[in-house]
Symmetry: none
Subunit: 198 residues, 4 copies
DNA sequence: ACATAATCGAGACGGTACGTCAGGTCTTTTG
DNA sequence: CAAAAGACCTGACGTACCGTCTCGATTATGT
């Protein structure tokens, strides 16, 4: 009785070059960063990373996947869930940190390019969904930690989507910057909304 | 006292063919509607409209511009501002109508394709900004009609962006449908937020 | 003692696909052959050869260049220099063969399309010049083999150009067919002219 | 009894503007002259002549026809048949004049562009045929005036085509200039050919 | 040690769509 | 009713990326 998931012959041949992987991811971030909206093509990435195109496609299924991968590495560090006394405090801290993350020029360009990619590549779109779902979950948990401040019938999903909705809506359209004041005000609004029973 | 903006010789030569214009716009909507995500190309549009490609490029600077133009004509009809007694009533009516608009398969495809286009065509992106700004303005006016229900320091922009934020966020990510219940609940939440003083 | 012309790393990456090359050239000849004057487009060639357009543009700078390339392969076989006793015999044989070459419908169409292309594509024109220069050289050598039949001051270039001049002039204008009789008569005329001292 | 060729109503409406006609023809010559091989388009001509495109197409069936018309007006003057004592004298005079005509930069550009046009426009090709036929006829008559210097079985058409063949062949390929010496030498050669019986 | 196997950089390949250009026709206004 | 202006349809052009497919060279195992 053998474990069928374990490959018979675990590995033969040359192993994946870690340098290539990081070179690619770095190149993506650099290109997304300073190319002001100019389309980041696979050829460009490969050239910048000093890598063959096939090396990219060997490890990522599509261009969007590479972009997303580059992004997640970046965004993971940015926001960590705070653990304060009140819902408002935690919410304000979380939103402020998140808003600031999108404000930094380096990540902003990356995020925007990523959405660009997801818009036409179904595969990338799927990855973006996974990514955003994870972020929503983080915010849900934050809310859940303060369940006592809630009206019993509060729509948690809606609250979460209002927060991220404002974030993405303003971020992508750029009609209004995402200031610290906005983060605080939004936190206040959502807190009020959560506590009010219908 | 002459109107200096009126050109001396208003126009010479053949005038723009209005039939061609509408044929193009109609063709766009039809194609966006039934092509299930299949990319709508300029050639296809021209073919379907019985029009030369050059005629499209003569009047629109890019593909995205055509799509947007087709869309704006569509969206104008869909939602008209209601005029009820309370803020909540108006808001609920407006949001329900808007949510339903994105639900109809025909317009949904158009909207999504449009965003796809805006994602890579800077010009189209600009037009999308104009379009969304107009919609925001409509909602702002709705809020303004019920100024008496507001706390003096309520952040109107933030309220508007929460509404449209949820809409677009859910519409594009498709992680959650936009039901009538959501519209009502969102209306309630925003009404509460508006009335609460900090 | 090393061959310095040999590059250290002779080639990297996939090599040119010889099948594609011949498929393109064959497709050109076929299309030129049976399309009765209908313009042979790059798309058509690519389609017929089962090849991407870019593959054509990667190796030939213009459409005319492809046509010419297809032609040269063809023309090389057609006429081979004869080696007879007298100038007249060789000349008559050479001209008859050449005249007949232009008579065959398949090559005629190719030649005419080629000139059409050279007429507007400067690059193709250059290639045509190279091609015709090679042919003239062949005829010059034929003349040179019978130098003893010449007047010392005979203008060899002029004789050659008279031969090819008649050929192209009649071929392109089509006011007069190029018969075997004409070839013989032209051979006689040029022989006489070559032998007569001024 | 009326002259049926005279129109009943001699003319109604605005009459053809002779100025426009000459403006068009002049513009063609100017454009062909100084545009170093740059394609002369109908739009360019119309613009340069200060004329509507339709005005061109009203009077000429295609672009080539306009070019040819411009040319014939130019070339008609150049060569007039000489009337000397011997075949050689007349031939040399005729060829020298003709060669010189092609040498002048102004006419050279026009001729070359014309051939370019004839190469792809069947209509223009027909006109070129007519044009060249007329020129051949002129040369035939010159030969005919000296019938006494001929062998009885001389092929007059072939002689004519050798002359014009060399001319066009060298003119278009540009591999060899058309000097006065060449004209004289060609005249000598053809005279010898004409006189020699087979 | 030596065959086996997977990786790497390079770059050619089949495709799809793009946006442009020219030719020749059609339509409107002005003289 | 001709002429200037210019919009229109058609069809070919050459370019840009995509994602796949070879190459020869380069490592790592397994026997």
């Amino acid at each position: 009785m053998t474990d069928s998931t374990a490959p018979r012959r675990p590995h033969t041949g040359r192993r994946r070059n870690e340098d290539a992987r990081t070179a690619i991811l770095d190149a993506v971030l650099v290109l997304l960063g300073d190319s002001g909206g100019a389309p980041v093509t696979i050829d460009t990435i490969a050239r910048a990373a000093g890598v063959g195109k096939q090396t990219i496609y060997r490890w990522w299924p599509s261009k969007g996947a590479v972009l997303l991968d580059a992004l997640t590495g970046l965004a993971g560090d940015v926001v960590s869930a705070p653990a304060g006394e009140t819902l408002y405090d935690d919410l304000a801290a979380f939103l402020t940190a998140t808003f600031r993350g999108t404000g930094r020029a380096s990540t902003a360009a990356v995020l925007r390019s990523l959405v660009r990619e997801a818009a036409r590549d179904p595969h990338a779109a799927g990855l973006v969904r996974t990514f955003t779902a994870a972020r929503r979950e983080a915010l849900r948990e934050l809310f859940a930690r303060h369940g006592d401040e809630f009206a019993p019938d509060a729509d948690l999903d809606l609250l979460v989507d209002q927060a991220y909705g404002v974030l993405w809506y303003r971020f992508l359209l750029e009609h209004h910057p995402l200031s610290d004041r906005d983060a605080a005000e939004l936190a206040r609004g959502l807190t009020v909304q959560a506590g009010a029973r219908s």
